[in-house]
């Protein structure tokens, strides 16, 4: 699947998007975040805020317990500040 990062999550990860395949057993947004944190210090730094990081699955807001099976695109970003 494609992973996208926005705002300071993007800056900390050091890239705007990448392809990734999560291993078996990683089945929710929260589990995907835990797996990403183990990939290196830049991911650890980006996701250290834990539940403050928001996610979207295929361009729709998704909660931490949302299943990721079948997702084509998962985005991570800080709380929104538009308007």
């Amino acid at each position: 699947m494609k992973l996208l990062y926005f705002a300071w999550v993007r800056e900390r990860v050091g890239r705007a998007e990448e392809e990734a395949e999560a291993p078996a057993g990683v089945s929710t947004v929260a589990e995907l975040i835990e797996w990403l944190r183990g990939r290196g210090p830049e991911y650890e730094h980006a996701f250290e805020a834990g539940p403050a990081i928001r996610a979207a699955i295929d361009k729709r807001h998704a909660r931490a317990d949302a299943p990721i099976a079948g997702a084509r695109e998962i985005a991570f970003f800080p709380p929104m500040t538009g308007g």
Partner: protein, 151 residues
């Protein structure tokens, strides 16, 4: 009913005229315009904001918010314009216009649209001051404002 994402500024008067011209079934028109202030919340002088967005999702999300407003209130028309990119102090950022037979619906729908834009549309503001750039933190008051619409 229209949602628009654009980099260029907009003209409030022209947008309202376009929505109201030739129709006389609307008793109430409410507009909200958000403008880039020349100070940060901590008081530093602000040169500009840069708005990052999630292409694709932002259009979907604006349309979802606007459809929700139409489902809740009987609106004759509605418009949402949101800019992205670099916006100088004094320039407009966002415009919401609601047209309804009576004023209560027009006011409520405009406030609802703004509360949801703030907390649900995928935009992120970066402030540019003499000290450099920094990301704006989300406000708890915006979450509280959006929560009041939950049934």
């Amino acid at each position: 009913m229209t949602v628009r994402l654009q980099t260029e500024p907009f003209d409030l008067g022209a947008e309202v005229a376009r929505l109201t011209d030739g129709r006389s079934d609307v008793g109430a028109v409410v507009t909200f315009m958000g403008v880039c202030r020349d100070r940060t919340d901590s008081g530093a002088e602000l040169v500009a904001l840069t708005l990052e967005h999630y292409p694709g999702m932002v259009e979907d999300e604006l349309s979802r918010i606007e459809a929700e407003a139409r489902a809740r209130w009987s609106l004759a028309d509605a418009l949402v314009i949101h800019r992205h990119g670099r916006i100088l102090a004094g320039e407009p950022i966002v415009l919401v216009v609601t047209l309804a037979p009576h004023r209560a619906a027009a006011f409520e729908a405009a406030e609802f649209l703004m509360d949801y834009l703030k907390t649900s549309a995928p935009f992120w503001k970066q402030e540019e001051t003499a000290d450099g750039r920094s990301w704006v933190a989300a406000k708890a008051t915006d979450d509280a404002a959006a929560d009041r619409w939950k049934k």
